[in-house]
């Protein structure tokens, strides 16, 4: 038997790995992938809680999160593409025209 807490801890660890990844990487796409990892960690948390509560609402929530993630992915990658076309880089360190 796997305790719900174990799933939640796994989710928390993955979430924090995603957060750490956002800082460590400089490639905008990889940063975005790390954000996706965070969202997946949340999904896992939702599903685990949903089972623990015996309610299915959490799963529906996850379904919507996935849809949102897809929409965000489409737009986000388009933004990264247009950034690359404009500036020939997707290294976030080099994207700092706007500051102060």
């Amino acid at each position: 038997m796997v305790d719900t807490t174990q799933y939640l801890v796994l989710g928390a660890i993955l979430f924090c790995l995603g957060v750490a990844g956002v800082f460590i990487r400089r490639n905008a796409i990889v940063i975005f992938m790390c954000i996706e990892l965070m969202l997946n960690a949340v999904n896992l948390t939702f599903i685990a809680i949903s089972r623990s509560l015996g309610s299915i609402d959490g799963q529906v929530f996850v379904f919507f999160i996935m849809t949102v993630a897809a929409a965000e992915a489409a737009v986000g990658l388009a933004i990264i593409l247009s950034l690359y076309r404009r500036r020939q880089t997707i290294n976030v360190d080099e994207v700092n025209l706007l500051k102060w």
């Binding site: 174990q6 800082f23 992938m33 896992l44 685990a48 489409a74």
Partner: protein, 166 residues
């Protein structure tokens, strides 16, 4: 059975997540992420969310990752190179401390205590898809329709941003 699979999935997903954030090559990172997604799909199965496991494979591990890879190839990216003179270490240190602290909060703050010892009813039985579907098209009718707006906005956005020549 569940124990074993959970541990395998858990360990593999953590290992690959770590690899994802450490691999220099974005393509490798993407591939690692696919593994994480698949592991999570198995976890969903363990949790009795079959429908979501399927969606996870179809949408995430399938479509979204393909999209990622396409973009990576489109841009023809090489390994990340360190840009010199940037306080990289500070950022890394800060981030690890930051995310570590959040993790510490969640774990030691007793945040998950409320649900410890529970694992939920086994009642979510046959036809998980049906159960989700029934909720989705009644109680969650409005969010469902709003989703279509969201997707439409995403279509327009992607075409606008990536479409014409800049």
């Amino acid at each position: 059975m569940e124990q074993v699979l959970f541990w395998i999935c858990g360990v593999v997903s953590i290992v690959f997540a770590v690899m994802m954030i450490l691999k220099r090559n974005p393509v490798h990172s993407a591939l690692c992420l696919i593994v994480v997604f698949l592991c999570l799909a198995v976890s969903y199965l363990l949790l009795g969310a079959e429908f979501l496991a399927a969606v996870q494979v179809i949408v995430y591990a399938g479509a979204i990752m393909v999209l990622f890879l396409f973009v990576i190839m489109l841009l023809n990216l090489d390994d990340e190179v360190h840009s010199p003179g940037k306080p990289r270490m500070a950022l890394i240190a800060g981030s690890s401390i930051g995310s570590g602290l959040i993790l510490l909060f969640l774990l030691t703050g007793g945040v998950f205590k409320a649900l410890s010892g529970t694992r939920g009813a086994e009642k979510v039985v046959a036809g998980n898809t049906q159960a989700v579907a029934e909720l989705l098209f009644t109680k969650y009718l409005l969010p469902f329709e709003v989703t279509s707006i969201l997707l439409l906005a995403a279509i327009i956005g992607a075409i606008v941003l990536a479409g014409k020549k800049g």
